[in-house]
């Protein structure tokens, strides 16, 4: 049975990759064929993913080794398939169907549509190969291949210098991540004597709480994986290439923001038993994630174009997801990955509808309330939010201190609910205010139920090491909470502060993304022998 499940799961990336190996020139000459191929292959791969997932129910993780290099058993090839891999497999194949379907008409007449579809399939296949990999080597290789496919997609408009430079900038960051992964790979082999997940995870779990788990080498391995994940998921300071990828056709943005950018998160969740060994690595990930979330959020506020806003929104969302990982709340992180992917894929594909969207809202931002009145509403809605959250937690029998990162995530949820209710109140309609409170309750219940589902799903697969007991971890949580609270205050009172000179300065810097893109432009220019920063 295990073999069948593994083969069905493996069929998904193999099918996509095989179709993705069609030579570009041939593909461009046979566009109708490529369209048919892409549709069929994405559909079949989704069905396979579904079948594998269904068969997995009740079996537990499947680990099958197909072959190994003679004399070097560490260099082997196989499939590791568990609920985490199944979730990702379903998610990405599903998004793949929509993206391929969208690309049919969207790139019609493009001359290189065949090639485009080919690279979409290739990239999908390689990222799924990564998902079902059974050891670190396979994982790293799949990652490098994914980067290659993505590079082809980003340079689809090869005649545009802008597209070229963006792709190069991204390649540098991705290359850095690959180097870190390779180093981590060697270090892991030296420490654990194997690269297979099962072996490594078992050893890592055994190390937990012992002095073996506290060695510098283990800390280094965890840190390397964490930093590699940050490079892949556009975390500060590796985020600046992402907003510049608007040179690629819209479906590529959808694929990247929904299917590839979250691979960093997948890495951390997949390797959670190893990563949790180092408090420092996790703490760093959490703080950096929180920072990225706030950075992305603030910059997004000032962006004037749809796609750039979406890009900074992704950066923020990925930051939050990494924060969840860093806090050890891997189930919440996976929920975030799945939900964000679907949301962002839709947001990109529908980005041409912005004018209709605008027509659905009132023409101007009219604030009918005084500063003091809104303060009162914020206060009231905060109290209501805490009440709603407590009630729903009680309903679900959950306690914030029992879940990793519970306090931070609870605070963020409470602030979100508060924001929802206060904006509803500020419309000035009693009916809407009541509706807002109802919506907040609905959101809370929905959130917690989905969290419970994910938590159950991942029970077997990820580490559930409780994190928040050392003073260090408490500090991390405190810092994260404080920064979100600051953001909460800022977003509530932007209007009230708007006339201060320092807000003007802050606005200009935020509108410029705090100039964090410039170092990468300069470095890329240096590496490619350009005299001045590239665009």
């Amino acid at each position: 049975m295990d073999l069948i499940i593994s083969l069905v799961a493996l069929a998904v990336p193999v099918l996509l990759l095989t179709a993705g190996l069609t030579p570009s020139a041939w593909a461009d000459r046979h566009v109708p064929f490529m369209r048919g191929l892409a549709s069929v292959v994405t559909l079949v791969s989704f069905i396979c993913a579904l079948a594998a997932a269904v068969m997995l129910v009740g079996t537990g993780a499947v680990d099958v080794r197909y072959a190994a290099v003679p004399g070097a058993p560490v260099l082997n090839f196989g499939v590791y398939f568990d609920s985490l891999a199944a979730t990702m497999l379903l998610l990405i194949t599903c998004i793949g169907i929509f993206i391929v379907r969208f690309s049919m008409r969207y790139l019609d007449g493009d001359g290189h549509q065949g090639q485009f579809l080919r690279w979409i399939l290739f990239t999908l296949g390689s990222v799924l190969l990564l998902v079902v990999s059974r050891n670190l080597l396979q994982f790293t290789l799949a990652w490098i291949v994914t980067d290659f496919g993505l590079h082809q997609l980003l340079t689809h408009h090869a005649h545009r210098p802008w597209a070229l430079w963006t792709a190069r900038k991204r390649s540098l960051i991705a290359g850095l991540g690959d180097v870190l992964l390779v180093v981590a790979l060697f270090a892991s082999y030296m420490t654990f004597g194997s690269l297979d997940y099962t072996v490594v995870f078992e050893a890592a779990v055994a190390m937990q709480g012992t002095s073996l788990g506290k060695t510098a080498l283990v800390g280094m391995i965890a840190s390397l994986f964490v930093i590699a994940a940050m490079t892949k998921s556009a975390q500060f300071p590796f985020h600046s290439w992402l907003p510049d990828t608007m040179e690629a056709p819209t479906p590529v943005s959808a694929l990247m923001h929904a299917g590839i950018i979250n691979a960093g998160g997948f890495l951390v969740i997949r390797l959670s038993p190893m990563v949790v060994l180092s408090d420092a690595a996790l703490g760093f990930l959490a703080i950096n994630g929180a920072l990225t979330a706030l950075l992305g959020g603030v910059v997004m506020f000032t962006q004037t174009s749809v796609k750039r806003s979406l890009a900074f929104s992704t950066i923020a969302q990925m930051g939050f997801m990494m924060l969840q990982c860093g806090l050890g709340s891997f189930s919440a992180a996976l929920l975030h990955i799945v939900a964000h992917s679907l949301y962002k894929a839709h947001a990109f594909l529908s980005s041409g509808s912005i004018l209709t969207l605008a027509a659905r809202m009132p023409p101007s931002q009219s604030r009918s309330f005084s500063w003091k009145a809104s303060l009162g509403m914020s206060f009231l809605s905060t109290i209501l939010a805490v009440a709603i959250l407590s009630a729903s937690l009680f309903l679900f029998g959950l306690r914030l201190d029992e879940k990793p990162g519970g306090w931070v995530l609870g605070l963020v949820l409470a602030m979100a609910l508060s924001r929802l209710m206060s904006t509803a109140m500020e419309t000035g309609y009693l009916r809407l205010s009541i509706l807002g409170i109802g919506a907040a309750a609905g959101v809370a219940v929905l959130y917690l139920s989905l969290f419970e589902v994910m938590d159950t799903l991942l029970k077997e697969t990820v580490s559930h090491q409780p994190v928040a007991d050392s003073p260090f971890d408490i500090t991390v949580s405190a810092v994260a909470m404080a920064s979100f609270f600051l953001m909460f205050i800022l977003t509530h009172f932007t209007q009230g502060f708007s006339h201060f000179w320092w807000m003007h300065r802050f606005y200009v810097h935020a509108n410029n993304g705090f100039y964090l893109d410039i170092p990468l432009r300069r470095i890329t220019a240096r590496i490619y022998g350009q005299r001045a920063a590239v665009s």
């Binding site: 749809v306 939900a339 594909l349 979100a416 904006t423």
Partner: protein, 848 residues
């Protein structure tokens, strides 16, 4: 012919001098220069009201090739069609030799200096050998460069893109209509002052390598014109070259210039907006001056003003210099363009002349008469409709049906102008629900206001930096079914809000309400409008039993360019309210009575109706059918059935023009969110025929002609002709030249590829990561991937009137004469004695 400075420009220059006599002459000159530059920029409408604009609108006082010379000397662009396209015309042998010979003669008329007898053989030999001659080098035709171009070229840097993007960022934040949650704090200031504030803070250009950029801002005067003067002096530009240097600066950011020019087009805040254009110029100059300083250019002006420019001095913008002569390559290309136009003209006129339909059919009373917009898309539908039955006749009229109205949607506080952009709406019409009580209307209005606020609140929850995470986690999964239904075309990605809060029954009864108190249109005024419509149409007697005003609108989702597919005569909106208003006016018994007094007797048994032709699906929707009296029901039913059949035939014809499209597939395009070519819009437009429809009846004009009905015998004073030549003809020329330019040079005048478009500020389009605001049509709107669906041809206007009548309009309207005689369109008159062509020198020449 005269290519001197046109009188209008000259006088404005003197105006300034008179008004500000006390100032020194330098200031005066600069002001005159700036006001001349402003006129060269054509406006760009925001996406919600996107209409076609002639990108050469400020240049029609120049001959075509003179304008081209001016443009290519200040910017990397080319108003002539690309070499690839022209070469393919030659390769395909698409044009017979005799058309080349005829074209050469016309070139000779237009440009006697450049196409002389001696060159004739040489140019025609190029044509025979299918060679366009050697193209010039990259900057060969340029008279003026920007510092950024100069440095980029010499040092392999990317300053143009950095600078354009930085200015783009500023303009986007300044003009943003609601994209950014946190707007720029200086939107209330003039553009240039806001720039000084921002640039004094922003570290971007400094850290990219233009050292001293922020420092420079502190030194600059806050008035843009004074700043321009000191910046020009810093660059060391001699006064005689100011105009050229400034124009090249402005053209390097021409998209934003166009958007700013729009703001001063029809608005009352003209002065502030005009100042913003000067401000934009100052902004652009600050970047170049800073770059020149940081690049240590010695005497930058010397490099900026190239050798070729010497002949353009002293007044580039005013006059064209006789010393200029286009290269052989340019002349061959012009000849090929001209030949393709001659070829099209000959074939079209042949088709029309072939027809010998007598007009006595007119004397029978038609059962149904349908009035369509002049739009080229109407031609296909009309042809198929007329084929259904002889009892139906159609005519063409500007799609706003002569009613310039502002249409205010139910629950909105202001509306959109449903009329050509050349005029301002004179009446405001509220949307209402037929037979609904005031209370119900107020209820719907307040429901809509509440709904909008609720959506806004929800949007804030969705995107706010603090709540977006919880939103995604709790509701993100809901996008899975949404992705599915949107992908299958079952739901629109974003629902259309125009039917919010109505019951199904009310949705059918929604429409413009002429009796609303706010409209307050007296019967007298209504009769005046009604009379104008009928006289414009020449519909004064022999009324059909049912007369339908059929406006048009497009139907598509997820397409920011939708307004561009809607009715241009209605300001980029649907023609529905106009058609319904026109029908309502003419059904009003009080109006009919007054019309009777004025000599237009509409019989009792004539009913006016309104409909809308969906140009994407070729479906026709009739309105207010519930009010149609019993006696007309049968006829209306027939009209509906004919329209259905015509729609099917029209779809079948159009699907032939669409790659991989079946007739059903074409219907699906209207709801496909991934569709970049929902329809071909006005692509292919090539001619404007003003005259009797019976002369073109039954001819397959391939959806390439604008058709306007005109009967000279009913217009002895030439008033209707004058109206047609000054309004619809100008509009068709605008549309034609927009398509022309977007096809001829998509990089310079189009908006690039739709697949990488990004909507900025909810009003404009950026391509890819940034750069300048895009102005024209996307490549996908003119090309299907294997060939141009819009072949770049300048408009051919065919008028059935006497030469005298047409000439008298030309004499009276300088602008129209310039269009016709400077090569922006070609004018042909068909009269009893033959067909005549208007030459560049203002003569009539008979066509065989």
């Amino acid at each position: 012919m005269s290519v001197d400075n046109p009188p209008s420009d000259g006088s404005s220059a003197t105006d300034y001098r008179d008004r500000e006599g006390k100032n020194d002459s330098v200031t005066c000159d600069l002001k005159a220069v700036l006001s001349r530059l402003e006129k060269l920029i054509s406006p760009l409408w925001p996406l919600a009201d996107y209409v076609a604009v002639n990108p050469f609108v400020g240049m029609s006082d120049r001959r075509f090739l003179d304008a081209r010379h001016l443009l290519v000397s200040v910017r990397q662009c080319d108003p002539l069609p690309g070499s690839d396209y022209l070469q393919s015309l030659l390769e395909k042998d698409a044009i017979p030799r005799r058309d080349f010979e005829a074209a050469y003669e016309e070139c000779q008329e237009e440009y006697p200096d450049w196409f002389d007898e001696a060159d004739r053989e040489r140019l025609l030999r190029h044509v025979d050998e299918k060679s366009l001659g050697d193209p010039p080098g990259e900057f060969a035709e340029r008279g003026f460069l920007t510092v950024a171009e100069l440095v980029d070229r010499d040092q392999n840097t990317r300053w143009q893109s950095h600078i354009t993007t930085e200015i783009s960022r500023h303009c986007a934040a300044h003009f943003d209509r609601g994209q950014a949650t946190w707007p720029s704090p200086w939107r209330g200031l003039p553009l240039y002052e806001a720039w000084l504030k921002r640039a004094g803070i922003s570290k971007r250009l400094d850290s990219l390598g233009i050292s001293g950029f922020r420092g420079l801002m502190g030194f600059l005067p806050t008035e843009p014109d004074r700043a321009i003067r000191s910046l020009l002096e810093m660059l060391g530009v001699p006064q005689e070259h100011w105009e050229g240097v400034l124009l090249s600066q402005l053209m390097s950011i021409s998209g934003w210039a166009a958007f700013i020019r729009f703001q001063s087009w029809n608005s009352e805040e003209t002065e502030a907006a005009a100042e913003d254009l000067v401000g934009l110029l100052a902004i652009r100059l600050t970047c170049d001056v800073a770059l020149a300083k940081s690049s240590n250019l010695t005497n930058p002006a010397k490099a900026l003003i190239r050798e070729g420019a010497a002949v353009l001095a002293p007044r580039v913008v005013g006059a064209c210099d006789s010393a200029y002569s286009p290269s052989l390559h340019v002349r061959v290309r012009y000849l090929v363009l001209k030949a393709s136009e001659v070829h099209y003209r000959r074939r079209l006129l042949d088709r029309i002349d072939r027809r010998t339909v007598s007009r006595n059919a007119q004397n029978l009373r038609p059962l149904v008469q349908m009035v369509f917009c002049i739009d080229v898309r109407s031609e296909v539908f009309r042809r198929h409709l007329e084929e259904q039955n002889e009892a139906i006749v159609t005519s063409g009229f500007a799609g706003f049906f002569g009613i310039p109205l502002e249409f205010v949607r139910l629950g909105a506080s202001w509306g959109a102008a449903h009329c050509p952009v050349l005029i301002t709406p004179s009446i405001t019409v509220q949307e209402g629900i037929r037979n609904a009580s005031h209370e119900r209307l107020a209820e719907v209005s307040s429901y809509r206001r509440r709904l909008r606020k609720a959506r806004k609140a929800w949007k804030i929850f969705q995107t706010s930096a603090i709540s977006c995470f919880s939103f995604v986690e709790s509701l993100g999964l809901g996008y899975l079914p949404k992705l599915f239904t949107d992908s299958m075309g079952l739901t629109p990605p974003v629902g259309d809000p125009s039917l919010d809060g109505l019951t199904d029954e009310e949705k059918q009864l929604l429409g413009p309400d002429l009796d609303d108190e706010d409209t307050s249109l007296s019967t007298e005024a209504r009769a005046g409008l009604a009379e104008k419509i009928l006289r414009g149409l020449g519909m004064l007697e022999n009324f059909a039993e049912v007369v339908v005003f059929c406006g048009h609108a497009s139907k598509m989702v997820n397409n920011p360019y939708q307004a561009g597919y809607d009715c241009g005569a209605c300001g980029g909106h649907s023609g529905e309210p106009n058609a319904r208003a026109a029908a309502a006016l003419l059904n009003d018994p009080a109006v009919r009575e007054l019309l009777g007094d004025r000599g237009i007797a509409i019989p009792e048994n004539t009913r006016f109706l309104a409909a809308v032709h969906c140009t994407t699906t070729d479906e026709v929707k009739f309105f207010d059918l519930q009010e149609v009296p019993e006696t007309f029901v049968e006829t209306v039913g027939k009209a509906q059935r004919w329209c259905e059949a015509a729609g099917e035939a029209a779809r079948h014809e159009r699907s032939g023009r669409m790659r991989n499209a079946s007739d059903e597939r074409l219907l699906y395009r209207a709801r496909d969110w991934s569709e970049v070519r929902p329809e071909w819009g006005l692509a292919g437009n090539a001619a404007f025929i003003v005259g009797d429809r019976t002369h073109t009846l039954g001819e397959d004009l391939r959806g390439r002609t604008f058709l306007h009905d005109y009967d000279a015998s009913r217009d002895p004073a030439g008033e209707v002709l004058e109206a047609i030549m000054t309004a619809p003809m100008v509009v068709t020329s605008w549309i034609n030249l927009q398509y022309y330019a977007s096809a001829a040079d998509n990089r310079g005048y189009g908006s690039g590829s739709k697949v990488i478009h990004d909507v900025v500020g909810q009003f404009g389009i950026l391509e890819g990561n940034g750069g300048d605001l895009m102005t024209g049509l996307p490549w996908q709107a003119v090309h299907d991937g294997s060939r141009f669906q819009h072949e770049p041809l300048r408009l051919l206007v065919v008028i059935e009137a006497t030469r005298e009548a047409v000439a008298s309009v030309l004499t009276k309207h300088e602008g129209v004469r310039q269009l016709a005689e400077n090569g922006w369109l070609s004018l042909v008159v068909r009269e009893a004695s033959g067909t005549f062509r208007r030459t560049a020198s203002g003569e009539w020449r008979m066509l065989e």
